[in-house]
Each structure stands twice: as C-alpha cells, then as structure tokens.
Amino acid sequence: MDSREQMNIVIVGHVDHGKSTVIGRLLADTGSLPEGKLESVKEYCKKNARPFEYAFLLDALKDEQAQGITIDTARCFFKTEKRDYIIIDAPGHIEFLKNMVTGASRAEAALLVIDAKEGIQENSKRHGYIVSMLGIRQVVVLVNKMDLIHFDKEVYQSIVTEFHEFLQKIHIEPLDFIPISAFNGDNIVNKSPNTPWYEGPTVLEQLDGFVNTKENRELPFRMPVQDIYKFTEEGDNRRIVAGTVLSGAIRIGDEVVFLPSNKRSVINSIEGFNVAPRNTAYADEAIGVTLTTQIYIRPGELMVKASEKQPSVSSRFRANIFWVGKASFVKNKNYKLKIGTMRIGVKLIEIHRIIDAAELNMDTFKDQVERHDVAECILETTKPIAFDVVSEISLTGRFVIVDNYEISGGGIILEQLPDADSSLHKHVREREFLWEKSFISPEQREAAYGHKAKFIVITSGSEGKEKEIQEIGRQLEEKLFQMKYKVYYLGVSSILYGLASESTVSYENREEHIRQIGELARILTDSGQIFITTVFNLDDYEAEKLKLLNQPNDIIVVNVGETPFNKFVPDANIGPDGAVEAVCDLLKRQEIILEYYI
C-alpha cells in the first residue's frame, strides 16, 4: 500500500498581490494540470479578448473571472516528489475574510504573499494576525511582483525588515522570505537569474521543506463525545460512545471521566467496522467505545482519562476572538457557542480591548466587536463547559460563535476565570431587588392553605425511567390535590420541550428550558403552591441552577432509582415502588404538609 504524505497549505495576502497567480504558476510549471486545462483557459481568454493570466486556472468560476478576485477558497491538488499538497487559495479581499479563515483553519503551513510594489497592506497584516491566531506556526513570506521593482535588492530588503518587525509582534517567526515574480516564474520552481543576490530556497523547495505538524499523541487524551449510538437492528445491543480522538491515546481498561457532568466509567471495548480488533486508539481516529457501566452522558461532553491532567471546567473564560458576522457581537445577547461537540448558550460579558489587526492598535473604547475586528474579551456560557487553554492543548481551546444560525466568529481560550459571580447570580440578585412585594405574607398564605409552598423536582438517572417519573409526578399531584392542597404539576415541559429525552435535545435548548422552569417555580412557590415537575437525568449544575432560580423559596429534589448526580445531594433517593408515599413522608418530615390534615 502506497502511503504518501499529504499537507494542507494556505496562501494568504492582500487582494491583488498575486496569490492565485502563484498557485497557477506552480501547477503549470510542475505539470500538475490536467491535460488541456491550460489550453482551454487560454482559449477562453482569447475568445473573451482578455490577456491570459495564470490566476484564471484557479478562478474557475465565471463570477470570479468577471470580477478578477477570488471569492471563495479554492482547493487544488498538487504533487511534488516528496508529498501531495492541497493548496488552499484564500481570498484577499476584506469582504471575504470568513472565507479566508475557512481556508486557513485547515492548513498546516501558510504562504503570505506581498506585492513588492504596493508593499505591506492592511490585509497583509490582518491575515498575518489571523494565521497566528489559528495556530499556524510555519509561515513563509513571498515578496511578489519583483519584476515591477526591477528585482531591486534594496527595496526587497526594506519590505523584509518592515514585515519581519510586524510579524514578530504577533509571535510569528517566518521561516523565510522569498523574492518572486509569479507572473514570470522567478524563484517559483527554478532559481531566477534575476535575483543572483538571493540564496534561499525556491517556493517549491520551501513547500517541501515544511514539516507536517507532529501528531498529538503525546498530549493528554481528549475526545469530545459526538453521539451515543444504540442501533438495535439484528440484535446489536452495543451502546457506543462515538467521537474523534483529538489528542492522546485510550486503552481498554482505562478509567475515563466525562466533563462537565463528571461521570466516570471504564473503557470496555474499542469498536469499529471492518477493522482488526484493537486495544488502543490514538489521536485523529474516529472511534467508538463501549463502557463497563451504564451511565448517562450526552453528546457534547468531553471524555478524558482519569489518570491524566484534567481540563478546565468553567463557565467563564478570557478569549481572543475574530468576528466575521454581519451583525456586531454585543453584550447581553444570547449566542450559541460551539466547542468540540458541545453547543451551549454564551454571552459577551466584557471587552478587554479591540485589536485593530491591520494596525495592531489597541482600541479600548468600543462597546461591541464589529465585523472583521479581532478582540480580547470575557465570555460566559450558560453552564460550565470543559476546555483547555490554547497554550496547553489548542485543539480543545478553540470555539466558534453562532449568531442567528450563522457562524459569526471564532476564537481561542486564553484563561479560565472563576465561576463565582456568574451572570445568573447577578440576575437573581437584581430580580429579587426589583420583585414587587405583595401585601400578603408567605405566613398568611401558609395559614390559609394549610401547607408551605414548595418546588418539588423529580428526577432519575435510570435508563428508560422518563415516563415513570412523569407518572409519579402526576400521582403525587393527584394525591396532594385530594388532600385539598394547592398543588400543580407541570407536565408539558417534559413532553413539549423534550426535557425527557437524553440525547436528542441540544444543551442549548435544555439550558433554556431549565431556566424557564426555575423562573416559573419562583412565581408559583411565591403564590404559596406546591409546584411539581420532572426533569429526567438532572445533573449537578442543573439542580444548582433550579435551586438558585427558585430563591428565596425552597426546593426539594427527589431522585428515583439510579442517581444522575455526582456531587449534588438530593433530598431523597427512593425506589420506584411507593415513590408517591415516600415523597409525602418527606413533606411531612419537613413540615411542609401537616400530619393532621391527612
């Protein structure tokens, strides 16, 4: 089996500085073009009375030929003796920054093209900055259109000095600067006689000089859980946790932790189709595992090894972001964060500074992050998430932000911040401060109704118990109602909003519904009622969140069967039989309902 190395390279730079021409030239001069392609493009130019340009080879779409700029990222395949390349031609025009980032985020190395005559332009810098943020460490600068400055060594040197200074500021140390003329082919494949003073490699030699980023096997094990499969067809009873290993290695028998839920289990098997049985799986493999115990985890969690360095778990962090959304990134608006396979609500809390990538000036006065801005800011998710700071493991420290269906920004996490004073706490404080007090005190209501107000949440961590706990909720409501208590069971949430289902509901929706229930509970308990609801597979954070949102009123959390919690201690753990009576007993013990009323 032939196994050639493959590498993704991105070409970036300011508009019209000649990126497409460099690639067109590379393809043509190395014989990588399909037969007849060069001729057909030349023919097309002749027919349309336009001078032939190498760039046309790539800008295969009609739109682009008309406008003369690359709209999107075109991929082309290219071979040298050493390896196969996918060259990504990223558009240089500012409007297409998102396409440029799309292209660049797939690359292991970058060629940054600068026009020798125009010199360093806005996007030369912006692209440099984004390449640095994306974590591409191998960068080579091609000083193009040397023919226009008559291959002048002095001019070339001044560009090199100026740009080198800028790149250092953003932590990029270019491997090389190469003087070229893509149009004429100087220093692309062959050394040019026009630059006898230049002793470095040609572009082609430089490409082959890049090294493929080392595999991430040495880092701690990280696997975002993409899905949990149970395909029952033909008696298949495997429950498979599927995902792609980002870093490290995992072996049968390893103890694993799922974050943020903190659930633990042990690897029972590594599954695959049409592969030899194996004990270990490594970084970059798309795998599936079965566990020795039945635990409930949801897609989006991060699977790590118990014995290795743990990632951060927090809902607040400091990050660098770049924004490409049509609408600005603003505070106090709900966005969606996608990190690994987790999707979760996120808010912009604070902007530390806006970095004008073109000039690298710091602008601290802006109150929002506008399109094409790069900013350092503080973000807060609706629930803690697991991540690593980029300086440790970059793969689990990067995220995107979705605004109104569109991926509008991307970023890297620089630092974990303490959860302490989350915006939820702040919200509850403000809410309570503004809460209009009634003339009727809770004590008066208690006396009138004959019982205290309470928020009762019934949960379960046992497989298939969704319906059962709903039934318990309904029966409890009926029993208390017959005893003439003011009681209300909210069943719609489980059915309508899918709180009952464990894997199909996204975190984002679930978080929002938990919040709604918490707010509702605050109102209903304030009215003196006993409010009952069921939330299947409630986790530690969600229980704390409900408790917080229901403040200053009281909550009772009852678990039926296997517990879904790690740290949170429910008020009662009961079996399915006699659950209603057990809850009633608990209510009596806590003097919420009184014996003699029964």
Partner: protein, 293 residues
C-alpha cells in the same frame, strides 16, 4: 496514520455530525464509485449500520448493470433504499438524444427536477421491500431537507469551492459568493426553517484516493469500471447516451490505481467522458447552481 486514515476519519466525523444535527437526511447513491465509498464510510461511522435512507434518481438511461448492482447491495447491506424518477419527462420524451430536448435540459429534467421532487416527496417514490426484494410505493411523506452527497473538490472547478455543509435556499439555489465559514471542524449546523442542506463528506478525496480506499477496504464496485475484454472501461458513470467509456485495459482496482498514478490518465480529467460538462463553457456549474449534484 496514513493519508487514507486521515480522509476516512474526517469523512466519518462529517457523517456523524450530519446524523446528529439533522432529522430528515438521506444519502444520494448514484451507484458510482464515489457514492459507494460514501456508503461504505457510513457503515464505518455507524458501526456496520446505515441509519440513513439512500436515494437513487433513476433516469432510466442508466447502464442496466448499475441497477442490478444497486439492488444486490441494498438487500445484502439491509439498506433503506428509495428511488425516484421524472415520470412525466420520460413519458413526454423530453429526453436526449432520442427525445426532443437538448443535453443540458435532459439532465435538468431527469436528474435535477427528479431529485428536487423526490426529496420533497411531491413525486412518487419507491422503496425496496426487503421481504420480497421488490420496490413498492413509498408511503412516507418525509421531506428530506438534508442530503449527503459524494462530490469531490478535485472533480471540477465549481466543486472545489464547496463547503462540507452547504446550505441551499428553497429554490435549491447555491450562493457561491456568500457561503458559511467553516473554522477548524465547526460547520454550519444551524438553519432557518426551510433551508436545505447538502453535506459533502468526500470533498477532500481525489479520484486516486477513492480507488486506493476501495482497494484497501475491499469495497464491492460495479464491474463497469473495469475492462471486460474489449479494451474499454468507464471512468465515471452516468447515463449511457452521455457517458463514454475510455480506452483502457485496467482489469482490476490495482491496475486502475497504477493507471491513474503513472499511466495515461495521470493528466486527463476524470469527467472528460461526461458530455454535459462541456456544453456551454460552464455546463456543470450552470447545472449545479440549479441544484445538480
């Protein structure tokens, strides 16, 4: 990890994202080598199962061996196999070259239109009954809004600009100038109601990769790709009036790989035997903007 492992892992990741994010998805199976590799990758992603229905658009101009091969595999691999067609155009002879429309219109009607209306459930669909091995009318009204397609970036210019997850509006239009960003492995998976989405797990594969993978995994492929004694084989499969075999004596997968690497096809585009690509200078692009795969 070699390059095929990397490509495989990436495609599996994309398939799993698609399955996780979209309810009404299906996979197009043209019976050709690419979509068959895609089908194989689905079995990899889902541990031997294919939890996604497969849709084939039957133009009735397909080479007969293709249909036979389709049904054999569908039964063997227990696939949810559905086909659709443009009955009206076939009856009215709005076909090429034996009918009364030109080549691109024929493609438009028998493939693009048929696909649109099969996905939406507007036209009759047929589903394979695994008990009898025969097709019966598909009674489900499912509107497929997500379609997994086996296009590759190296096939042709317009395909090189595709995203892994690519939205189309209600008219199936493709706005090439304003495509969603894809940063790292985060794709656009949030959509306004009514959006259709195309998912392209094979975007980074080349023709050579496809054959190398077929060899490695021993994937059953229709024999039309091989020289069966007359010195000709198909390099790309389509409708027989518009797809021409190439001169080649490659009799098996290994020989095809050798031929692609160093032989006569090393520099000849794969779709050079597909006539619709050439008709107006940007034939395939015109077709694709209108919803062609």
């Amino acid at each position: 990890m070699n390059h095929l492992d990397k490509l495989e892992a990436q495609s599996i990741y994309i398939l799993r994202e698609a399955y996780r994010e979209f309810k009404n998805i299906c996979m197009l199976w043209s019976i050709g080598k690419d979509s068959t590799v895609l089908l194989w990758l689905a079995r990899k992603a889902f541990f031997g199962h294919v939890p996604i229905p497969l849709i084939h658009i039957d133009t009735h101009y397909k080479i007969p061996e293709m249909i036979k091969y389709r049904d054999e595999l569908a039964l063997k691999w227990k696939l949810t196999m559905i086909y659709g067609e443009n009955r009206h155009a076939l009856e009215q002879k709005k076909t090429f070259p034996d009918g009364n429309v030109d080549r691109l219109t024929c493609c438009q009607l028998l493939k693009t239109e048929a696909l649109k209306n099969t996905l939406s459930g507007k036209w009759k669909r047929y589903i394979l009954d695994h008990e009898t091995g025969k097709y019966v009318p598909d009674t489900s009204q499912t509107k497929y809004t997500g379609v997994i397609v086996g296009v590759r970036a190296d096939e042709e210019g317009s395909r090189s600009k595709e995203r892994y997850f690519s939205p189309r509006d209600k008219e199936n239009d493709w706005d090439i100038g304003d495509q969603p960003p894809e940063f790292w492995n985060q794709f656009k998976t949030d959509f306004a109601p009514g959006t259709h989405i195309r998912i392209h797990p094979l975007l980074d594969w080349t023709e050579l990769n496809i054959w190398e993978y077929i060899e490695r995994e021993n994937i059953p492929i229709t024999s039309l790709y091989f020289d069966r004694g007359d010195g000709k084989r198909y390099r790309s499969l389509g409708c027989y009036p518009c797809t021409f075999p190439v001169e080649s004596t490659a009799k098996n997968v290994r020989e095809i790989i050798e031929e692609l690497k160093s032989g006569k096809f090393a520099h000849i585009a794969e779709r050079s035997g597909r006539a619709q690509d050439k008709d107006d200078g940007g034939g395939l692009e015109t077709l694709r903007r209108g919803g062609y795969m």
